[in-house]
């Protein structure tokens, strides 16, 4: 069994108005030290298979559905569960 933690975020070239709005709000909350903020989606999946097959499956899940690779990039961690 493996637990996959998948993070999907916008590519650097994509403007993220939501992240900008959050940044502005945090500045208004008086955190001037904040210089960069990324927000995105987080998925946790449990897969009942070998590490190799789990990695392949998660890779395909990201490509086919969890991320839209036109505008998003993804990364994941696999942890033995």
């Amino acid at each position: 069994m493996y637990r996959a933690k998948v993070y999907v975020t916008y590519k650097d070239s994509i403007l993220d108005p939501q992240a900008e709005a959050i940044t502005t709000a945090l500045h208004q909350l008086d955190f001037p030290e904040l210089t960069q903020l990324t927000c995105g989606k987080y998925f946790e999946l449990v897969l009942d298979t070998t590490r190799e097959k789990a990695a392949l499956a998660v890779e395909q899940m990201c490509q086919k559905l969890l991320a839209n690779v036109n505008m998003e990039s993804y990364r994941y961690e696999l942890i033995a569960a």
Binding site: Y10, I14, L15, P17, Q18, E20, A21, K41, L65, L66, N68, N70, M71
Partner: protein
């Protein structure tokens, strides 16, 4: 000649499309459930606006896996006319039937207003009833209508004249002011503005009628030449 209007869970402009085609253009229209698997009886397929599957994950991301989409792919591959409006456009990009993606509006807010457009390509199967560069106004209503594609895709869209509608005053941040594009073959159109909401003077505008008029002209010609 019969038109198919698809209904996904969460579609909400399907009845508007039916009303436009049936009441204004006197066409036969059928609502097709997302679980259906055959579209061979139809002359054209229309994907309506709305929030299919609640826009879960991304607009159109889940609808693309609905059973009916395999039939839409076959219909499009065979050269049939397919039009996706608003959420329908999002579904077509997620399905890979049109290039690029609709990301959230630059303003991060939902925009619902009339949008001034230019018909930059009036030679498509969906716009041949318009004059070249005709200026029209159609309603827009979307939170994720900001069209994005990479530079290489944009160059190809421009070279192949796949950009059909552009905004005169870009409301959402779309690349190259894009409001609507076709696929390379020209038989699949996606557009964020709603032509079906602008087909009766009583509703404020008839500027959208040209889209349906064009499809009718194209399909009638097809029948005659076939």
């Amino acid at each position: 000649m019969k038109f198919a209007v698809l209904q996904f869970p969460g579609s909400n402009c399907d009845q508007d499309l039916v009303a436009a085609l049936r009441d204004v253009f006197q066409q036969q229209v059928e609502l097709i459930n997302y679980r259906a698997t055959d579209l061979s009886a139809f002359a054209a397929v229309l994907l309506p606006g709305g929030f299919s599957y609640g826009d879960y994950l991304r607009g159109g991301a889940i609808a693309r896996f609905a059973p009916i989409m395999a039939a839409v792919r076959r219909f499009a591959a065979a050269g049939g006319l397919v039009i996706g409006i608003c959420n329908g456009f999002q579904i077509l990009t997620e399905a890979g039937l049109l290039p690029g993606v609709l990301q959230q509006n630059k303003s991060a807010s939902f925009i619902c207003q009339p949008a001034a457009l230019t018909v930059v390509n009036a030679q498509t199967s969906f716009t041949n009833a318009y004059a070249p560069n005709q200026r029209i106004t159609l309603p827009i209503a979307h939170g994720e209508g900001n069209y994005y594609c990479d530079a290489a895709t944009l160059a190809e869209l421009q070279a192949q004249q796949q950009i059909v509608f552009t905004y005169q005053d870009n409301p959402n941040g779309s690349v190259a002011n894009i409001a609507g594009i076709t696929n390379r073959a020209g038989n699949v159109l996606g557009m964020m503005p709603h032509p079906e909401r602008a087909v009766e003077a009583l509703l404020g505008s008839t500027d959208g009628g040209g889209v349906f008029q064009s499809m009718l002209q194209t399909l009638t010609k097809k029948v005659v030449t076939a």
